[in-house]
Symmetry: C2
Subunit: 202 residues, 2 copies
DNA sequence: GGCGAAGTGGTACGGGTGTGCCAAATTTTA
DNA sequence: TAAAATTTGGCACACCCGTACCACTTCGCC
């Protein structure tokens, strides 16, 4: 049932609430953290801001999360998961060529927050692990769409193009026309008549 | 003489020192800012940290730079410029295929700082302008190396691969082997027998 | 020389931060 | 029901931040 085989087993630290209301509150805090991250970058994700926005007392954040870092890490994980799911859904509905439209339609600030945390993961082993999950997830989506193994060079190559164009658009806000063209070319290369990439069978 | 035609004409705000020592100090502050950025991300670039590290009084930072944002922006510009120059030098010496080696040899934290600011540029129009310069610079290097116009689809496509692999390596620290393979393939596509930029294969 | 501008550096203010503390309220268990 | 565990929320501490202020020194120039 669950399409996500490797979930966080149980993030340590902080209190894992045993009561229903507590679980709801914890989730609300996490959602709020993601929202704030999107709105103002991860500098905006402070205990106070999250608690206030969620309509909860300040101490709630320190109660459910061992530290700000942990809050951020879990928010990142959630963001990765939801974005992956959204993208997968869009692509299975509209195909890979429609990805620019998805990018255009998506909440830019949210993407920005995702990439912010992604880069930040380069300094934090915990976040790094989640960042890898993001990359792997994207690759897997492409692989499944193309019906190729995730290790196929063509898949990996296509992913780099998608990824770079995505980031570039989110950051630099250039017109999407060129991105569309490039993606089409890249797709053609990946699905085209070439059999050259032939896989690392591993 | 100057190989960089579009320099910052004169960053407004802050004092542009008229005396030699002042200019040296300003430059030292900027260098220190870049160093701190590399060491601890841009949250570590504070007035106090920069001043202390540079061996200057706190007020020096506010004297030479109108605000922290301006300091950060100029540090970003400098980082972009030096990294671009380094990369260009490396590639003209060793060729595009050696790029993974350059990436491996480069100061990872410095790259991390660059990408951090790059993503941050998505929220700040001033930085966004510099971010575009970074992308354009990379594309131009590739175009010159390949002897193609910077608008060529193959160039742009190759850039996306390079860029994504670069970021991925810096953030996720995966082994470089696969990146090397991918880059080789991408290069082959770009320089290969195809004339695909306009007319599609055969 | 002297004098105005440029540069210097010590200090202070107001504000926001993460987090620890602890008594009260609430829920679960016995 | 009573007792125990969990959850709550108000508060305060210590710290660091950006920046303004201002007496002081040094420099460029007439």
């Amino acid at each position: 049932m669950n399409p996500h085989p490797h979930q966080d087993p149980a993030p340590p630290g902080g209190h894992t609430p045993a009561q229903a209301r507590g679980r709801r509150r914890r989730a609300a805090l996490l959602d709020t953290a993601v929202t704030l991250l999107a709105e103002g970058g991860f500098a905006a994700v402070t205990h106070r801001a999250v608690a206030t926005r969620a309509g909860l007392p300040l101490a709630a954040t320190t109660y459910y999360f061992a530290s700000r870092d942990q809050l951020l890490a879990e928010a990142f994980a959630q963001l990765v998961q939801t974005e992956l799911a959204t993208t997968r859904a869009w692509i299975t509905r509209h195909g890979l060529t429609a990805l620019p439209d998805q990018i255009a339609a998506a909440d830019r600030r949210r993407q920005l927050g995702l990439w912010e945390l992604y880069v930040h993961a380069g300094r934090d082993p915990v976040l790094q692990h989640i960042a890898r999950r993001w990359t792997d997830g994207c690759v897997r989506i492409i692989a499944e769409t193309l019906g190729l193994p995730a290790t196929d060079t063509r898949v990996r190559l296509l992913y780099t193009t998608v990824s770079a164009l995505w980031l570039e658009h989110v950051v630099e806000q250039r017109p999407l026309d060129q991105a569309r063209t490039l993606l089409t070319h890249a797709l053609h290369h990946a699905t085209g008549p070439h059999p050259p990439a032939t896989g690392d069978t591993r």
